[in-house]
């Protein structure tokens, strides 16, 4: 049986890399109205997605119970 975490892991890894790459090539800064906060959403969220994707892959490859 295909481990469902595998496609999830790979999709999020790819999306994470794409967002981080795009965030660096073309930085777009989000500013929040009435606040002195600005951030590059693609970089931040891309990193989170990448971490999640890698985590899923790690779970797949360290799972000893899989058939």
């Amino acid at each position: 049986m295909l481990d469902v975490r595998k496609p999830i892991g790979w999709l999020f890894t790819i999306y994470g890399v794409v967002l981080i790459g795009w965030g660096m090539i073309q930085p777009q800064i989000t500013q929040i109205e009435g606040h002195n906060i600005d951030f590059n959403l693609n970089l931040i969220w891309g990193s989170l997605m990448l971490v999640f994707g890698i985590l899923m892959n790690v779970l797949v490859y360290t799972d000893k119970t899989k058939s």
Partner: protein, 538 residues
């Protein structure tokens, strides 16, 4: 800040298409019997079936409809979760799942055949098949709407492209493929929509800051104005509790084969019972992803809800994505929406092909064929179901809002059916013909009630209020009629009801489970969380 869509966003959407079809192709090798195709071979772990249970329902209605409803009716929309869905999911897990899973049925109509008789099953199978294709069209329509408005795609072209992708992966991998994509989609929704809520919370310095911007303070409360019908939704607490809290949500979550099918794919009974419960935990928090962006849209997007197509209620969430997301992230957000529509549709289509193949084709048209013949039929039914959905997508275009359209369908089919199930599972005396005629009369009542609402004889302050009351009335008619006719007709002998009805079950050895695997413990925890949410947003 208003963003447009760029090539990077198309690339992100494209990657998703490649992935879902890839999963279908990988799974195709495993589909050797019809059991694999329709029930995923009963070997899916419960966290997967749980998330699939949640996501099968996470279609256009949930994602676009709930945000739209929140912008229209305020946080009372969260009643769909904290009054409706969660208690019903717990009830299904604890009380009903033992009969569904324990009786080894392959579909909900099949249960009705075993518990009652052949005509009841046929009636339910036909109405369910009609309902699923009516529902799956909503997703195609919603998808086309978003892509037409945001990407400028042609409506018909985007309906056909979306239909082709769903066809590809469901016909290849059957239920397993649908379930896998539903799980994938669940994570996409969370990652794709969460930033909207986070940015919104920062912008307004939390919930109270947002509330202070509402013109009508009733928009911030679940119950405060529910004493009378003079609240944004136009329903008092009796209508809410009976229509939504009881009939509509129990009718949907406890009898709709679309969601039950996910639990039936689980590996054993405790896993099947955990399926709705595992789904219930994230479901408690889902209003943050669906209802909250709608409330933000109400404050942030001027003119929302006006007649222009770009500003209709259903556009609340897509407009928030455009508002907050830069290109790149916008692609992720759109992919999340697209994924939810596709999985919502695939869920309907896989439920449709199972009911068609097992409950109609195998039972009445072609008995005693080979297993591979039914597997083939399942694939054909998938294609036909999708073709009909394309038709119903155009039908759906004629309705003012997708949520109204859906609750209308539910009040016809699910509301009376829940009375049949309640009596069937918990009252041994409920007789086969009592169930059949009760169901017929309940559905007829809905139709008559809808007719008189439509011509204006019966009036409600909102369409939703009409749906809630219609459901309550249809349920009551079915309930009373089933009891009355059962008393006059012959019940099934008790020996034929073993494992199908409360009080007849040969209780298996109680399995000792650690607390976090015990359905009852999980059910109580999730109910406590739900009560807390109700009190906090009172």
């Amino acid at each position: 800040m208003q963003h447009g869509i760029g090539p990077i966003d198309y690339a992100i959407i494209g990657i998703y298409f490649v992935f879902v079809i890839g999963v279908g192709v990988l799974l195709k090798k495993r589909m050797v019997s019809s059991e694999d195709f329709f029930l995923a071979g009963h070997r899916i772990p419960s966290w997967v079936t749980g998330l699939a249970f949640l996501s099968a329902n996470l279609g256009a209605i949930e994602v676009m409809g709930m945000a739209a409803n929140a912008a229209q009716y305020g946080i009372m929309t969260a009643h769909f979760y904290w009054l409706g869905a969660i208690p019903a999911m717990v009830f299904l897990a604890i009380f009903m799942m033992p009969f569904y899973y324990g009786s080894k049925v392959r579909s909900v109509p099949e249960y009705l055949k075993m518990r009652f008789n052949e005509p009841t099953r046929a009636l339910n199978a036909i109405s369910f098949a009609v309902m699923t294709v009516l529902m799956s069209g909503i997703n195609l329509y919603a998808m086309a709407l978003v892509f037409q408005l945001l990407l400028g795609w042609d409506m018909t072209a985007s309906i056909f492209v979306s239909a082709a992708v769903v066809l590809a992966y469901t016909a290849l991998g059957g239920l397993t493929s649908s379930i896998y994509n539903e799980v994938l989609q669940f994570f996409l929704i969370v990652f794709g929509l969460l930033p909207v809520s986070i940015i919104g919370l920062i912008q307004f310095d939390g919930w109270n800051g947002l509330v202070s911007k509402f013109k009508d303070p009733g928009f911030a409360h679940l119950w405060l104005q529910a004493g009378t019908a003079a609240n944004p939704m136009g329903v008092d607490w009796i209508g809410l509790v009976s229509g939504l809290g009881f009939v509509l949500s129990f009718g949907y979550w406890c009898t709709d084969f679309l969601v039950i099918q996910r639990a039936l794919a689980a590996e054993d009974l405790p896993a099947a019972q955990r399926t709705p419960l595992i789904a219930a935990f994230p479901k408690v928090l889902f209003p943050l992803l669906t209802v909250f962006p709608g409330l933000l849209a109400l404050v942030i997007i001027p003119g929302l809800g006006s007649n222009s197509t770009t500003l209709r209620w259903d556009m609340a969430l897509p407009l928030m994505l455009m508002k907050y997301y830069p290109t790149g992230m916008l692609g992720i957000g759109l992919t999340a929406m697209l994924a939810s529509f596709m999985s919502g549709m695939a869920g309907n289509v896989t439920a449709f092909n199972t009911v068609w193949t097992y409950d109609l084709y195998q039972s009445y048209i072609a008995k005693d064929k080979t297993d591979s013949h039914y597997l083939w039929m399942g694939r054909v039914a998938t294609a036909v179901g999708i073709l009909i959905s394309i038709g119903t997508a155009y039908l759906c275009m004629g309705f003012p809002s997708i949520m109204d359209y859906m609750q209308l369908i539910f009040s016809f089919f699910n509301a009376p059916l829940f009375a049949t199930f309640l009596l069937g599972m918990f009252w041994k005396r409920a007789s086969p013909w009592g169930a059949f005629w009760g169901l017929v009369l309940g559905t007829l009542t809905s139709a008559i009630h809808f007719y008189f609402t439509n011509i204006g004889t019966i009036h409600f302050t909102s369409v939703m209020a009409g749906n809630f009351w219609r459901s309550t009335i249809a349920w009551s008619v079915c309930f009373v009629a089933t009891i009355a006719i059962s008393m006059l007709t012959k019940p099934k002998p008790e020996s034929e009801l073993i494992g199908l009805c409360w009080g007849t079950t040969l209780n298996p050895e109680p399995v000792v489970l650690s607390w976090y695997k015990n359905p009852k413990v999980l059910g109580v925890i999730v109910l406590i969380l739900t009560v807390i949410c109700n009190i906090y947003f009172w």
